[in-house]
Amino acid sequence: MTALSLRVGAVSWRVRLRGVAVSLLGLVLIVLLMAMNMRIGEIRMTLPEVISGTFDVNSAAHFVIMELRLPRALTGALVGAALALSGAIIQSIARNPLASPEILGVTTGASVTVVAGVVASGSAYGGASGLLATAGIPALALLGGLVGAAVVYGLAWRRGLDGYRLVLVGIGVAAVFTNIKFWLLTVGDVNDTGRAMVWISGSLNGRGWEHVLPTALALAVLVPLTLLGTRSLDALRFGDDTVTALGVRTNVSRALMILAAVLLAAVATASAGPIAFVALASPQIALRLTRSAQPPLLCSAVVGAVLTTAADLIARTAFSPLELPVGIVTAVLGAPYLIHLIWRSRK
């Protein structure tokens, strides 16, 4: 693999050119896909109108773009990046390409609390919908995600953390949470459960700056921290004895990286609901594009943003004027991919 060594004084980095190229290309794609997305809405715009509307403060479209369309597109890209980064971390730690935040109990835990919240608020829902939708649901999702992860982590811990055990416990807990969620949906009022269903399929509809800011803030803090842990993460791909022999505090590093992954997934889920498969597929796509042995973190995040933005574009145009939740599209596209992965790992 072509790598460039950058050395200035005591500072030295190794930059993989393929990774840089893939990331740059991905960033261009994200901007392009976001612009395509911003054409869609009550008033359809052309691409030039979107561009002039974004930068020309006096244009008629400026308000619509800045207040409605840009935050929605940004939420999609940021949520996709956060989910993918979370998936890359978890796949590295579990040493398993089938691992994802669903396995850590984050997304399923969030679904349970959100559905429970919507169902429980029941009759008061009509009055409280505004507040519940903007602040209550993300908060419930964040709480549920963190509790779900704590349950999985607690059950998987046995004098240290084994990646395989984590995956198995995670699958079991996810099944339990999913069934609790279905049970709640059956006891709830039809109108409430209908709303809850949209959320649990993962949707970017109506997302505004109040969704962009927390996600952006979380990424701004967690991405640098995660990148600092890249070397430990690379080492954690090896067997535990090798990792410890290399001077890594195995359990501490692993716990910190899992915490970062949980927070990323929980924040993303709080903003847009559990968008399926982005966390699973993005790291594996990035890995193949960069031809590296482990999921590259930054590239995975870029791929995740591209996938989510592209899926949202499909969700809004495929059956236009009907708009699907983005999570439906990622699930439809992701399912064959998951089968492909399982098929490959069988061989």
Partner: protein, 267 residues
Amino acid sequence: MRLQAAGVKLGYGERLVVDGLDLGIEAGTVTTIIGPNGCGKSTLLRALGRLLKPQGGEVLLDGKRIDKIPTREVAKILGVLPQAPSAPEGLTVADLVARGRHPHQTWYRQWSSDDEGAVAAALDMTGLADLAERPLDELSGGQRQRAWISMALAQGTDLLLLDEPTTFLDLAHQVEVLELVRHLHQEAGRTVVMVLHDLNLAARYADRLVAMRAGRVVAAGTPHEVLTEDLLGEVFELDAKVIEDPVAGTPLVVPIRPRSHPTQPRA
């Protein structure tokens, strides 16, 4: 004394494998631990390399308790090659060996010229320079084992612990790996502790042998002192003849029959 176990109790969970064992490793020696399956030799090696925390007693590295030294500092002094190590799929030899530089790197110092030099030197020493860009899974067992030893070498430690570095290798490759170990010891004065199953190779390549049985050290000393017919009976329950290795002059074990089975071998 570079490395010392003092009254260590070792085990997994409730089960103690080693109950109060003392052992000292002197600087610049090659020590080989031998013993029957399940005698605790790998467990002991893992404890010496701080991969397993003793439930009692202590392990001292250069006179200091190894668990009191930051693990990263230990990794600059002591390299461990675990038994049957596993690497991510698709990893190249160069990437594997580069991983050995981990304890010397920080987030801003990820690939210094020291790192590059150490990796190149380690690849050269193990004769893998030409295979550097090949994925590890495409190599033969002997080449792969040399790649792992390369990684431990790139770590730049003068103390090396090798857990069964010759498992799964044919005889020629076993000798190849042990010649490399001897070279590391003679050229660079490294202190090596390893676990081996083949007694004759152990005798040939070690300065000191440590024979273990049921979690205890039964005998320790030069190969001539340790590899006696009496000891083979006691430690391995094996009737054997010990003659002189016509090539190296070290003891050579010719097995006759296991003691537990009364059947006579054919004449």
